[in-house]
């Protein structure tokens, strides 16, 4: 299986461990990721706030890069990139006038078709057969709160049941872990407004962490760099809002997958998580 890979800005620096672990896992599963040549930022939510045509054009360029390489499916780990690419692709497919208008803003690349866009979880859960996973280090006894956040709610063609997603649960079970009943699995983490409405945002995160802890989770499994930033990097600030501590490691589902597949801590970027997962892993007998 061969995919275009659009890491997006977060995975270059702040969420590098998602990039590392995704690549390591895909390498093990013989899923080939071909990074788009000199891709650009999709503009996330700000682009639509400033100018919808600008937003569409930024994504159209990235879609065109995949087309130029003859790659029909793009893997986009960041839900903002994912949403923007899909939205632009669909709008331009349906509206030839808009396509022309957008193509006029592009000096080198033009978009003819409409490459598909998928989240990594979608590729691993749907395109890859989970039964083929060779688990070397089962996550036995590990209670995991599977957190999907808003990515699965991203409209139009969600791959999983939007109201009761299962893909990550099934994956964690396959890895030998135990998903805990976590009713907040798709609730918003508030990441989109952390810079502009910090207190509202931290309260949403604190609520998620409280519920995960109450559900008996040893750790959270996430699939979005912004959710990870909120739950991991901002965890201590969220805890302060409730005058408590959580001490809940937050791992990308690809890091948990890599652990179960027997990959090493460097490859999975485990040392980069702000809430260290190492004492938990040691307690669970998962030597890395």
């Amino acid at each position: 299986m061969r995919y275009a890979y659009y890491p997006g800005c977060s995975l270059q620096v702040s969420a590098k461990e998602y990039d590392l672990s995704l690549k390591a896992v895909c390498n093990r599963l013989d899923i080939e990721l071909v990074e788009l040549k000199d891709w650009n930022c999709c503009g996330a939510t700000p682009a639509y706030t400033v100018d919808p045509l600008l937003a569409m054009s930024l994504s159209a360029r990235n879609l065109a890069l995949a087309e130029a390489e003859d790659l029909s499916v793009i893997v986009a780990p960041c839900p903002a990139c994912y949403k923007n690419l899909r939205k632009a692709g669909k709008a331009l497919e349906e509206d030839p006038d808009l396509r022309e208008e957008v193509n006029d803003t592009l000096t080198e690349h033009k978009l003819d078709g409409s490459p598909k866009v998928k989240l990594p979880l979608e590729v691993i859960a749907s395109d890859f057969h989970l039964d083929a996973l060779e688990v070397e280090r089962p996550l036995a006894g590990l209670n995991v709160a599977c957190y999907y956040g808003c990515p699965v709610a991203r409209p139009k063609g969600s791959f999983d049941n939007r109201e009761a997603p299962q893909a990550m649960h099934l994956l964690i079970e396959k890895l030998g872990g135990q998903p805990v009943p976590f009713a907040y699995d798709t609730k918003c983490c508030g990441g989109g407004i952390v810079f502009t409405r910090a207190e509202i945002s931290l309260d949403l995160t604190a609520k998620l962490l409280t519920k995960a802890k109450a559900a008996g989770a040893d750790c959270l499994s996430v699939m979005c760099p912004l959710c990870h930033l909120m739950l991991d990097a901002y965890q201590s600030q969220a805890a302060r809002r409730l005058q408590t501590r959580f001490d809940l490691p937050v791992l990308y589902f690809t890091q948990l997958m890599g652990l179960a597949l027997g990959l090493g801590k460097e490859e999975l970027g485990l040392g980069r998580n702000m809430v260290s997962p190492f004492s938990l892993l040691e307690r669970m007998g998962l030597k890395v």
């Binding site: 800005c9 977060s10 270059q12 620096v13 702040s14 969420a15 590098k16 000199d38 891709w39 650009n40 930022c41 503009g43 996330a44 939510t45 700000p46 682009a47 639509y48 706030t49 400033v50 100018d51 919808p52 045509l53 600008l54 054009s57 930024l58 360029r61 949403k83 208008e101 006029d104 803003t105 592009l106 000096t107 080198e108 690349h109 956040g149 808003c150 709610a153 991203r154 409209p155 969600s158 939007r162 798709t186 609730k187 918003c188 508030g190 990441g191 989109g192 407004i193 810079f195 502009t196 409405r197 509202i200 945002s201 949403l204 990097a233 600030q237 980069r272 702000m274």
Partner: protein, 191 residues
């Protein structure tokens, strides 16, 4: 919050000029049946002055000033649950983005979220990609420079984990992206 509705719909309101500004799908807005699924799904509705359902109603009634001077679209976290669940297929999160755009274009008091969005796009124009330290500094200087100091310990902790760098991750060739900015801005000023 209770809303005082206008006694009669005026011709101007029926002309739908305001609705047309809230996006290409504006015709769908009239199909809103006020079920409130959007508000029930919204993680931040309790922080808004008008809930998403009320915003849609106010737009339908043409109450432009009430909508554009509200906080609601600036509080929106863009989680898209409203859009995903709307039984009428109204793209409510996109309506919120369009309202942010309109409020700014029409000179309503700029929210710090607009300062953030503009700083974000300035950085993207410079490097073709986001460079967080510069984004945070630009945003801080445009809103509350003192608050930047409060963020310093967090920034340092991120830096120590290599989650922030001092050097931007830039595109090899940013020209095509800059051309997109030029061409779309030109298009906008011409209309």
């Amino acid at each position: 919050m209770t809303v005082k509705l206008p006694p009669l719909l005026t011709e101007e309101r029926l002309a739908l000029h305001f609705m047309e500004q809230v996006g290409p799908d504006w015709q769908k807005l009239s199909t809103c049946m006020q079920c409130g699924t959007c508000t029930a799904s919204c993680p931040v509705a309790h922080e808004m002055d008008y809930t998403p359902r009320q915003i849609l109603h106010l737009i339908e009634l043409g109450m432009e000033q009430e909508v554009l001077s509200s906080q609601s679209m600036w509080v929106c976290a863009s989680c898209f649950h409203c859009t995903a669940r709307c039984p009428r297929g109204i793209e409510i999160a996109d309506v919120m983005a369009a309202l942010r755009n309109q409020a700014t274009a029409q000179g309503y008091k700029p929210d710090k979220a607009m300062t953030f969005s503009k700083a974000f796009m300035t950085v993207v124009n410079r490097y073709g990609r986001v460079f967080e330290p510069e984004l945070i500094i630009r945003y801080g200087l445009g809103t509350n420079p003192l608050a930047l100091m409060g963020q310093a310990p967090f920034g340092i902790s991120m830096f120590l984990k290599n989650k922030l760098t001092l050097r931007p991750d830039r595109m090899e060739d940013v020209r095509e992206v800059r051309a997109i900015f030029d061409r779309t801005e030109k298009g906008r000023s011409e209309t």
